[in-house]
């Protein structure tokens, strides 16, 4: 079987950019199945939107002469011919120098790149699978349009963060068909960057609950001092918070002489090194989800949920290896290979459609003085895959 040929459409390609982590794995291979795996997929064309001083795309193209850099997305998808010659497209629009809007959202051109790709498909009457890295857009309506377009045109469309498919400690999946009342994730980073990762960490778990996913009806965000005020209330599940911290390998104690204990409540504000952010999400079926970003308290991602019948807490850590190699991109690239080889996304695009909308609503809440935002548009319904897709073999 001949190798599949794909195009990569990226914002920038430098060390530690998502484009570098993903495309490099197609070029050099990666650890998979207890060997060094070379994908049966070849990157033959590259569009790069920005070339900072630290650009690596030209170096990569020299090392892999079969991968040519084109000056436009259309030319990358057609390899400069009058037809769509590639078998798939990577759309990696993360990192780069782009403006922010009044809400603080960085205006990465995912929608614009997608439209150019789709326009090329239409003009040449051929569509191929597309992978979109992280969320679909900073704009909910555009994200909705992207998913609708992929269905209308009938091409496989995969998206999302690497977090849902990263390894876990312990290696457990959320029990399929569980009754769950509350769920929580404690993670790092800030809004419009890491909120999507934390929301995807939660969604890949809770989508497996009884009844499947039926959407989110409201979101309220808290940031800064209001986070500490919220923590003084009775509105949150302290046991889930402790369970998350008990799964963390990086939780700080807040004490000079105690390294192995959980911090006292009053010590937490002093430990957090980035402005804390919380999104409280009310799902349509009654599930309550709390996304907590408290970098400095922890340096990893942990998840906990309260299950019923029997009553218990499910918890795990989503393990993200060190950034020098970022091997959590291994399962992402492997699933992307599956997309290109089979034409179908290994997990539902609706997951990232929903988390894209939740991210936008969280930002909206922050912009509107941390008010509660009703989200009738987030009536995104889907069923999860039966089998787990996180990396555990």
């Amino acid at each position: 079987m001949s190798r599949k040929r794909i195009a990569a459409v990226v914002t920038e390609y430098r060390r530690y950019s998502h484009a570098q982590h993903i495309v490099d794995r197609f070029l050099w291979g990666y650890g998979w199945g207890n060997r060094h795996h070379l994908p049966p997929v070849e990157v033959v064309s590259l569009y790069v939107d920005q070339f900072p001083d630290s650009d690596l795309s030209r170096d990569r193209s020299r090392q892999f002469p079969s991968m040519k850099i084109y000056p436009s997305i259309r030319e990358a998808v057609t390899e400069g011919t009058n037809r769509v010659t590639v078998d798939g497209v990577l759309l990696i629009a993360e990192h780069g120098n782009y403006p922010r809007n009044e809400k603080g959202q960085k205006l990465y051109p995912r929608y614009e790149f997608f439209n150019e790709i789709v326009s090329t498909f239409r003009d040449h009457s051929r569509s191929v699978p597309v992978f979109n890295d992280k969320h679909l857009s900073w704009n909910w309506e555009w994200a909705r349009e992207m998913v609708d377009t992929s269905k209308e045109m009938g091409f496989g469309f995969m998206a999302g963060s690497s977090v849902p498919i990263a390894p876990r400690l312990p290696a457990m999946d959320f029990p399929l068909g569980s009754e769950v009342t509350d769920a929580m994730c404690i993670a790092v980073g800030g809004p419009d960057g890491y909120d999507i990762h934390a929301l995807e960490a939660i969604q890949c778990m809770v989508e497996r609950r009884r009844g499947g996913e039926t959407g989110v009806q409201a979101i309220q965000a808290y940031r800064g001092d209001s986070v500490w005020n919220w923590m003084k209330s009775d509105e949150w599940d302290q046991s889930l918070f402790e369970s998350c911290l008990c799964r963390s390998h990086t939780v700080r104690s807040g004490s000079e002489n105690l390294s192995h204990v959980l911090p006292r409540k009053e010590a937490i504000p002093g430990l957090v090194t980035q402005t804390p952010t919380i999104y409280v999400c009310e799902y349509r079926d009654g599930l309550k989800v709390t996304m907590i970003l408290m970098e400095g308290l922890v340096a990893d991602f942990t998840f906990a949920a309260r299950l019923k019948n029997p009553n218990r807490i499910f918890s795990t850590q989503i393990y993200l290896p060190p950034r020098e190699v970022c091997n959590f991109f291994n399962p992402l690239v492997h699933h992307t290979e599956s997309l290109f080889l089979t034409g179908k996304s290994p997990y539902p695009i609706e997951r990232t459609l929903l988390t894209t909308g939740m991210t936008a609503a969280g930002i909206e809440s922050l912009w509107r003085d941390q008010s509660r935002i009703e989200t009738p548009h987030l009536d995104v319904c889907y069923q999860p895959t039966r089998h787990s897709t996180f990396w555990r073999s």
Partner: protein, 421 residues
Amino acid sequence: MISRRKFLGTASTVPLLKSPPRLPTVDKGEKGIAIIATEWAFESLAQQVGDAFLMGYPYEGKWHQPRARVRSVYVERNPSSPLIRQRSDEFGMVLYPTISETLRCGKSSIGVDAVLVLADSGSKPRLTQSDREMCDRYRYFQQIVKIFHEEQKALPLYFSHFLSDYFKESEIILSTSHKIGSPLMTGSTTPLTWRMPECDLPYGRAVKEAVVVTGRDSEAAEFEALEAMQGMLERRRGGETGVRSVQLLKGDPVWQAASEGRWSQTLLEAALSRSDKLLGITLKDARPQDLVNSGVLPEIVDHPRAYIIEYIDGLKATLLQLRGAIGDLVFSARLAGRTSPLATQFLTVPMTSGSHSSCLVTKIEEMVNSGVSPCPAERGWLVRGVLEQAEESGVQRGKVIGTPELKRTYRVPKQSQYIRS
């Protein structure tokens, strides 16, 4: 610092997170522990393990309070440090000036149910004689056993990392403990730590060959690597029956041995596929690498070492120290009846985290409460013997050294002991 009085005074306003300090009350069902430590400094093993027993530790997504108390402590270096005084004030553990008083809690008879000997393994590449004397586990053991003899009572014993720096002493400790009926446990966190992916050697499966690769160049790292590998291999068909010979190769002979098929490059590729800390050019531009098939290893590993071990039952295993290639610890093995190798990484959890030592403390607690060691002390005995003879092989320029003294049979429980929950 939180005094006992202050804690009791604020007990009605319990902090959000249920982290101890615990109230130093006595639960009649609790076992008492004596700790013999070389040092109780912040981030020392004594502090990590001791604190886990004093304050609890995270386990299975919950805070776990052990049913065992630290009753008495002996610390050889800096016994008057503020950290020890703080623990004594807050938790009621009593510091004694001698091992004898520590085991007897200052009275006339043994007042504890188990003894933990917590000596750091040392961070220097190769220990000096004075380092060994300072961390002299054998000296502590002699004093402990003397007390056991005096009182005709043998308690469970745990030795951190290994029994002794010397094989002969390890042999004496092992055989004496068996003779007097003292349950014995030893070892580091490495065989018990998280694995990525979660996997263990299938119990009772025949193993053809194994490789363990470390990127750290130190005695302690090499011991831990062998210990981790042995924790896998001892589960094989027939159990452990001992080692026939050992050979240490350094420098170019390491690569030559690979090309001669004396250790498997396929297994090396499998092990390295599990590394999350590739070095070499990855440090420069974060690219993934196939270190084996690219041929780059001899360029980036300045001083490779290969410990080639031939087991009595025919198994061949190799420890590769490849500083410059990777920064973590990985393993692979070829099993009978299976084409693809088994491979995993022994995960290094930050030492400042309770999760680092919880995998070890839960096993120590199991021994303290059950009186049975869940991990065989023979493992550490065997590893010490292999390393000692390997050193001799190195002195003799890579000569294969026969090891009749390493003939010993032991079996381990079917249930895996590494942490998965």
